[in-house]
């Protein structure tokens, strides 16, 4: 058995060394792949807050990913066409500034998560899974029919958004920016797990009755987790849209919700670095298997099936044995 922190350390080193090598060897595509892995990891870290700690099996997290993406798309679209964004009572100018876009993505996805969470948490178990899935679809179809912003075709943003002091069009700079954000969120996540809220939420997943018996409301704890979770996944969506310079309803698709969940489970549910490992492995599989066969998802399906049936703790569980998020 390997200590979990060694796996984490190797992962962090890998995320620094591989792109550095790619930079030296002039392999920008590898850097783009690594950026993709980091952004997907961020989305999965978001889901892990709800799923891993809070035990909320949300199959609708693509909603937040898509909202983040569309916030970026819409703000940048209005900036690149020099048209104001009409919000009914007032209108605002578009923007190409990443910090502003991120903030908007976080706030809006948190708000939507609060609404979806409040409705969905009225139920539990299978109902919760199906309802989150259905809400995700609602956004999907809404995006498809929203012609002002590309409808089913999506829309392109011609120039990557800007960050003060960086040239975000240089792949390694954008990668570094995403990696720093991921690191920051992981740090906050690690603090959260050990905090008052983290302890209460973790208990609310394990024994909600106990949590009520000490005078706390497990539903409010779970709702808060859902909101935080949605906000992080929303931020990832904004970055993802910036990586591709393109947003489309596919970001809202239920397959994507399923895939974020796969990332979490592949790495190890409830582990701090589980989603990161899951995303790295997923992108690597996609790249290498995808290069060998057009039907690589068959193999992904088989791997996933084997993990669910025989290796409940995901890859980190296989490497390090059983243990939860905190020890």
């Amino acid at each position: 058995m390997i200590a979990e922190r060694h796996v984490n350390l190797a992962l962090v080193l890998g995320l620094i060394v591989v792109p550095s090598w790619a930079l030296a060897a002039d392999e920008p595509f590898t850097i783009t792949l690594a950026t993709r892995a980091v952004i997907l990891a961020l989305a999965a870290v978001g889901l892990n807050i709800a799923l891993g700690i809070g035990g909320l099996v949300s199959l609708g997290h693509a909603a937040f990913f898509g909202i983040g993406g569309y916030v970026m798309g819409i703000l940048a679209y209005h900036a690149q066409t020099f048209t104001p964004l009409d919000l009914g009572a007032f209108s605002i100018a578009g923007t190409k500034a990443m910090p502003v876009i991120w903030l908007a993505a976080i706030v809006l996805s948190a708000f939507v998560a609060a609404v979806i969470g409040a409705l969905s948490l009225r139920t539990s178990g299978v109902y919760f899974i199906m309802i989150t899935l259905a809400f995700g679809q609602m956004f999907y179809y809404f995006a498809v029919s929203w012609r002002s912003y590309g409808g089913a075709d999506g829309m392109s943003i011609y120039v990557r958004n800007s960050f003060p002091g960086l040239d975000t069009l240089v792949p390694i700079q954008f990668f570094a920016l995403c990696l720093v954000l991921l690191g920051l969120v992981l740090y906050l996540n690690a603090r959260l797990v050990r905090s008052r809220f983290g302890l209460a939420l973790d208990a609310a997943r394990q024994v909600p009755l106990r949590v009520r018996t000490v005078g706390l409301d497990p539903l409010r704890l779970k709702l808060a987790a859902f909101v935080l979770s949605g906000a992080v996944t929303g931020l990832a969506g904004a970055l993802y849209a910036d990586l591709n310079r393109f947003v489309s309803p596919a970001m809202f698709s239920w397959q994507f919700s399923g895939e974020i969940m796969v990332l979490v489970i592949l790495g190890g549910t409830g582990r701090l670095f589980g989603p990161v490992l899951g995303a790295v492995v997923f992108v690597a599989l996609e790249h290498f298997l995808g290069g060998l066969t057009d039907f690589w998802q068959i193999y992904l399906g088989i791997i996933l099936l084997l993990i669910v049936l025989f290796a409940r703790g995901g890859i980190i569980g296989l490497l390090c044995g059983k243990r939860g998020l905190h020890d």
């Binding site: 139920t123 299978v126 259905a134 397959q255 399923g258 489970i265 039907f295 399906g301 099936l305």
Partner: protein
Amino acid sequence: MQAGAGPGVFRGPPRLQRDRTARHMSAILIVEQILNGLQFGVMLFLMAAGLTLIFGVMGLINLAHGSLYMIGAFVAAAVAGATGSFLLAMICALVAAAVAGAIVEIVVIRRLYAAEHLDQVLATFALILIFSEGTRWVFGSFPMYLEIPDYLSGAVTLPGGIQYPLYRVMLIGAGLAVGLGLWALIEHTRIGIRIRAGENDREMVAALGVDISRLYTLVFALGAALAGLSGAMVGAIQSVQVGMGEPVLILAFVVIVIGGIGSIRGALVGALLVGLTDTLGGVFLPELFKLFMAPAAATSVGSALASMSIYIVMSLVLIWRPTGLFGGRA
């Protein structure tokens, strides 16, 4: 992570006569759309009935139910293409989906009954990947088509002089007949008694000497057969392609959330509600908004709202009754 935009679910309306625009929104149009909604709802019911039965008896949430629908459609298209017989195509689709369901149950699903919902979701998600890619591998990425046979094409004249496609009338009739058969099976046969008993107390049923694992395989295959039949029948009015199952699956989820998980009656009521809401909303909401908005904006807002309408209905039902209209347990 390229997610295929779901192909249009079998929501109806290729309207019969294009010149009937909203400005002459006649009683005929309304009846026609209600029939479309009914047809849509009946097909949804076949999907939802299998899902809700499998959940009710085995406690399993099965995302791969849409794959069985897809298998039905592909087998039907292939058999009809090879033999020219529509009826044979339907029978083969039903049998193929049932067999595929039984195999999947024996190889994978039965290991999941005791597992957490999360594991069930992931394992059946993995099955979707395997089925979808496998189908693409065997049949290619191009859509296939299933022709409506001559004896079912054309229109019938309904009372009041409304022309409506015969095939869709057949779909409504066949769907209702299957629903009735299902009800009779569950209420009036020995297998039905065991299924109902299995819903209530599986240890007891096992203790009474019923082979529970065979019963489960049977129920799963039955649900699969319903999905396959539904896919095959709908295959004749839309293209048969990979990924066609999942949009239907998700709507079927909405149906059983509304109806109450485990309740066949709830599945029927929910399916008709969703079918009618979706079809009528898509046609009439834009018209409604035209009453007080500019036409272009009304179409845009109306169709956006229509695409969300069933989810809004679902939310309202949930606020009112968190376990669905006919559901007992969460």
